[in-house]
Amino acid sequence: MANNQTARYNMREFLAYTGSNLLEDGKSVFVGTGLPMIAGMLAQKTHAPNLLIIFEAGGVGPILPELPISVGQALTCYRGIAATSMHDVMSSCQAGFIDYGFLGGAQVDKYGNINTTCIGDHDLPKARLPGSGGANDIASFAHKTIIIVGGQSKRTFVNKVDFLTTPGYLSGPGAREKAGLPSKTGPYRVITQLAVYGFDEKTSGMKLISLHPGVTIEEVRDNSSFDILIPNKYAVSLEPTDRDLEILRKDIDPTGMLIGK
């Protein structure tokens, strides 16, 4: 993100804002802990008041009065339309009721495959991470999956994930269907501190959709181990308004727990 903008907003605020922009009113989103949750809340408080937010532990359609710390706490069904079970919401997700899955990722490859399980060998890892949680499920079932990777670098945008926790396009075109995953699903957008990416229809490889203000193509390339497709035409990502930032800071995360202070 451009340095000349840092005065007005920080990187995490920008990520949350950019995520919220992808969510549509009257659609459903399955959100994971952290920035995806903030993005969902911001969308609900701005352009998508009837965004249906669903949490994997069973909270459905809450009107969130404050930011939950966990995808299972009481708030996730606060003034909700249902407080149900994981079986119910995961079944609905598998049956096709979820438009957007919204996840974070530690390592991503060009096909949008995510690793949140381990760095190094599985059985004696250099670093053990939490594992799939609901991510494998959400990315298998949601019609479109959005991934936030806070720190794009050669270490996070890798040629091969150490462990394929959560399915992107697997080994490329047709691989999801061949594996038995629901058809016409897969990663839709990847949001980083530098840009928003989509996936090429032919190759299923990651491609640039929009650069964040002030970011250059070189920065995008320098911060990835794999080649990112750069189309002739790409956009500049929209910036949050002062009103968006006020909502983020005052209404959603007043302690700065997730967006920082």
Binding site: G34, C77, T84, H122, G131, G133, T255
Partner: protein, 336 residues
């Protein structure tokens, strides 16, 4: 039935459905009888070294922490735990050497509070083994298959990934659609502990808010320990039978323990104790710190009531109740 792929994960907690029916027939009583006891009795009677255990609730929400502390106090060991978004409970058990095998859906993390220093250290040093991977829905449906008395439940997740490869699932061709389909094996934990809002002395339970996986987990666990905020009269259960989420005939023990989920949240009752979580997250950075924590909060107290006093007693509880009602602001002392 031709198997296309077979997961490398250890098939933990699975039984042939007939073998499990035999267990149910002889060990799960259909008689209404008083099952109240202390946490200490319940753990001594129902948790055996080497058992495959599972905890109710979700992450830091509605967890039977009083049983977790008691398992540590009784030095149970060689336990395998269902890592079905198991976080603080698992972290304490792994850190204290009680659990040395985990099947992971989500483990070794504390959601937004960061990763688990203790749990990670034990895994990264080889002291705790990850015997298999799965996902949250993967675990949910292991319990569903168990509740239904089935060998497996089909699913369309886990396919094509290392999570599936390291799971105990099998992939076959679905004879209806002709497409590959994943088969998730049933789980029958040797013992599960679930904290509820209220139940009667027989174990008929009411849970407020989301059920998470507890409807299915309660019904598939071979032994089920219920801890409850309060015991209510059976007449109250019978007045609104549609509120019973867990029926007595799947329950083996009932322990009344107010605030029994602390430092985890209890829907509508009390919030996470973030100060306590921060203390654990800070101390658990070293083995010595884990010992300090356990000496203070587990071995240094005789039971959960004394533990609650050590955590701040009535004043702390009053604060957590206000926080749950959003009458006081969130504190996040675990932030650097």
């Amino acid at each position: 039935m031709e198997v296309l792929h077979e997961g490398l994960g250890e098939l933990v907690g699975w039984h042939d459905p007939d073998e499990n029916r035999e267990f149910v027939l002889h060990n799960k009583s259909r008689a209404l009888k008083d099952k109240t006891m202390t946490a200490s009795e319940a753990v001594a009677r129902f948790v055996k070294n080497g058992d495959f255990i599972a905890s109710g609730g979700f992450g830091h929400i509605r967890v039977s922490m009083n049983i977790i502390y008691e398992i540590i106090r009784q030095h149970k060991h060689n336990l395998t735990m269902a890592g079905k978004t198991a976080v603080h409970d698992l972290d304490l058990l792994v850190g204290n050497g009680c659990v040395d095998k985990v099947e992971v859906a989500y483990s070794f993390g504390h959601e937004v509070r960061g990763l688990s220093p203790a749990g990670r250290r034990m895994v990264e040093s080889g002291k705790c083994k990850v015997i298999g991977e799965t996902s949250n829905a993967g675990y949910q449906w292991r319990f569903l298959a168990g509740m239904m008395g089935l060998p497996f439940i089909p699913s369309r997740n886990l396919l094509g990934t290392d999570t599936g490869k390291y799971s105990s699932c099998k992939v076959v061709t679905d004879p209806f659609s002709g497409k590959p389909i994943n088969l998730i094996p049933a789980a029958y934990p040797d013992v599960a502990f679930i904290h509820v809002h209220r139940c009667d002395i027989y174990g008929n339970c009411q849970i407020d808010g989301i059920m998470v996986e507890d409807f299915e987990l309660a019904r598939c666990a071979r032994k089920l320990i219920i801890t409850t905020e309060e015991i209510i009269d059976n007449e109250i259960i019978r007045r609104e039978p549609w509120r019973t989420n867990i029926p007595f005939y799947v329950v083996d023990a009932v322990i009344e323990q107010p605030y029994g989920s602390h430092p985890c949240e209890m829907h509508g009752k009390y919030f996470f104790d973030e100060e306590h979580m921060a203390e654990w997250l800070s101390l658990s950075k070293t083995d010595e710190g884990v010992r300090q924590y356990s000496d203070k909060y587990i071995f240094g107290v005789k039971d959960f009531d004394e533990y609650l006093e050590a955590c701040g007693g009535l004043k702390k509880i009053a604060f957590l109740q206000k926080r749950e009602a959003m009458r006081v602001p969130l504190v996040t002392p675990w932030r650097k």
